[in-house]
């Protein structure tokens, strides 16, 4: 599928893509670390919002800034910045993310002096009654700061166009995920993740165009390969597509994921374009059905969403890729383990680091898949 190659190419050459975008659009590039940053506002200001993602290469440049026990994802992101690979990024932004992301944001802003380093408080208890009004004011303030930064007000038309572009893109991603519900999904989990990740570093209009082509291809394609075991993938902030490809090569298909580099990034209804659109945007960020465990306090939304995925995608097993040192996800393990056990759903947590121990993973994943297959035969 040639269009798939384009996603791969853009993601692999994302720094080059962003630099070319800057020249072509005479705009700025803003790096964000977590999906609670309302990138629609940045996009409306002729800025390319890009998710800051590391390289998964071993590195030795972050030691003066970060202690040894730190999440590999955020460490790698900082390493990329310190090595100058993100030199084209004009500004960076976070919305009260975990301490690890905060550290990367903080060291980046302190040592690389971007022209905008903006952080705002995204509540942890998102369902609190006071949150929508507070977030509305926060997003308005954020809009002001972005306007000052780009030196131009964001018009209502620009904001509407941005929201509409994001709505379309998210709707297409939903369609892509919908195809995976089928008995034989026409696309692998790894390819799907590559498409989603590419969307985080591309201009949404370019990404939408490629997505449309992809969906057109997939609609005419009948999945022929036995999907093997249907897996749900849970993960911390995880971006290593090759690990997913590796798992799938052992006789499985990731039919659905619940992670911020996957479904959580776009899941949820479109933003309302009627009336005060900022209210609609707040509604998206506050009420998205799929929630980071860091912001899933008191009323739990993440776990019911996971169980909906299990049912809708006819999941046979769950793999949880837990980044080393990731606290927010570490908390959900016992609850999920007990829940999956009660439903008779096999569950495999795997700890991941900057590099992957392929031999160990192979043994564990193969045994896990064998167990599920045996269960299916004896059922």
């Amino acid at each position: 599928m040639r269009v798939m190659e384009k996603f791969k190419e853009v993601f692999a050459n994302r720094h080059q893509y962003a630099q070319e975008w800057k020249i072509k659009h005479s705009g700025k590039v803003a790096g964000y670390f977590c999906i609670y940053v309302p990138e629609e506002i940045l996009y409306a200001a002729n800025t390319l919002p890009i998710r800051v993602i590391g390289s998964r290469e071993p590195e030795d440049v972050t030691e003066p800034y970060i202690t040894g026990w730190w999440c590999p994802h955020t460490r790698s992101a900082l390493a990329e910045a310190l090595k100058g690979r993100y030199n084209y990024v004009d500004g960076i932004m976070i919305g009260n993310s975990c301490p690890h992301i905060f550290q990367t944001f903080f060291s980046w802003s302190r040592n690389l002096s971007p022209s905008l380093a903006y952080d705002f408080w995204m509540p942890m208890n998102l369902r609190n009654a006071s949150v929508p009004e507070y977030m509305y004011k926060q997003f308005k303030e954020l809009q002001n700061r972005v306007e000052q930064w780009v030196g131009k007000p964001i018009s209502q038309d620009s904001l509407l166009r941005s929201l509409a572009t994001y709505n379309t893109n998210r709707q297409l991603l939903h369609q892509l995920y919908e195809l995976r519900k089928g008995h034989v999904p026409p696309i692998s989990g790894a390819d799907t993740m590559e498409i989603t990740l590419a969307g985080m570093v591309m201009d949404k209009e370019d990404h939408t165009q490629l997505l449309k082509e992809t969906l057109k291809d997939l609609e005419t394609k009948t999945g022929s390969k036995d999907p093997g075991v249907r897996l749900l993938l849970l993960a911390s902030e995880f971006d290593d597509v090759e690990v997913i490809r590796f798992i799938e090569s052992l006789g499985a298909t990731v039919v659905i994921d619940e992670m911020c580099t996957g479904s959580r990034y776009f899941w949820g209804p479109p933003v309302s374009l009627d009336g005060d659109v900022m209210k609609g945007l707040v509604n998206r960020y506050v009420n998205r059905p799929s929630v980071c465990p860091h912001k899933d306090i008191v009323e739990r939304y993440r776990i019911p969403q996971i169980m909906r995925f299990v049912e809708e995608y006819r999941v046979q097993g769950v793999v949880y890729l837990l980044e080393k040192f990731c606290e927010p996800h570490g908390y959900d393990l016992p609850k999920l383990k007990a829940l999956f056990e009660s439903k008779g759903l096999p569950f495999l947590p795997l700890e991941v680091d900057l590099t992957t121990p392929a031999g160990q993973f192979r043994t564990r994943v193969e045994a896990f898949l064998d167990m599920i297959r045996e269960k299916a035969i004896t059922a």
């Binding site: 060291s107 302190r110 926060q138 908390y331 609850k335």
Partner: protein, 441 residues
Amino acid sequence: MNNTKYETRPVESWAKMKELRRTHFKHTWQAADHGEPIVMGMTEALLGYLAGLGNFADPSYGPYYTKLMRNPPELIKVLEATEAKGITRDVCSSMRCYLGQLYLGMSNTAPNGSKIKPTFLFQVTNCHTMAQTGNVFSEYLDVPYLSIDLPYDDTPLARDYVYQQMVEGIPWIEKVTGRPYDDEKLIEAVKYEWETMVLWAKIVASTRAIPTPLDLRHLWSLRMPMLTMRHKKEGVEYCRMLYDETQWRIKNNISARGMERMRFLHEGFPPYHYIAILKQPNEYGAIFVIMENSQGHGAWDRYADGTWEPTKTLKELGREIRTREDALRAEVELYVTYMMSSTWYPKYRATEAVKRAKDWHCDAAVLGLDRGCHGYQVSIMETKRELQKAGFPVGSYEHSQSDPREFSLTQTLDRLESFMESLGLTRIGEASGEKAEEAID
């Protein structure tokens, strides 16, 4: 190097602290008998807000935390109980200690074996692990959970947001406890809370004196009533007593440990299971005088150059608290404006640490690189670099605040001793026959 020998004496308020600590735990187990609500959680903030309920018990997430820190073999069993449930070892070690108490049934079991049932859980969300621990407790014990989201930066918007949440929380509290919320009690408690927090800031500020009247090990334990009864009359009286004693010690040149050849700043939490680390420099006639966390329990005015000065009392501000709104807004201000330490917001930490080291007349700094707490590690290496740039020698040791399995005493002492020796310090008694003061525990 200051080779002066000073007079030293035990801290007399120490006994009062221990008495208040006993009272606190006794009250925890007896509250239910008196029909008082039991509010579980790391209720170290907004105590005055909860006082609108009248008397309430506050067992934290598990009342045996300190006891376990003094008994590493038992502590390890509790940590293992958490891991057996599937919580990873990367999660905050203090929270793992609380979770282990939960899973072993200790959190709600009195020393005599009787059980208590929390009325509700209460947690501010400046620390995500505490907030997530609240989730686990709430689900495990089937107890309702109230969280107040506490932004880390002080803005009018943040203050209004916290205020709104507190207003909305009151009917919730009334519903789950079946008790009316008493504004008079709230007002009284907020006044006490403001008073104790200013007094605590003044006590900590006093340790800038040479010789320091109290050292960091003293402050570490003496702060305990700040965690549990800063909103009570007893809290004010205790802080006043301690403040007066501190002033008397300064006036009479009474030193914390008898010698302070060098004064050290400590950054990062120490290992709670080996708190004697805070006395380690005493063997070299040196002393830890300050760390940000000890300051953090007070109410401070913070300046752009990194200076912290105790803020004014309500009386000094000429501020009256007459209504629920007055009290809640004062409470918000205390925690968003005056108390919030840079613990969870690293933007100012490096600058403030350098200024702290200068204001407390420190000669060097030691970093506790704590694997157990991720939040407080944010920016610590940046802080190290700033301290070094400002000319302060910096040593460090690695540990986990509540997990003794991630701490090597021998290696740590080796590191610290090497650091002391690199500064030209020698062990007391080795060269001159001097004797270190008896450690006060």
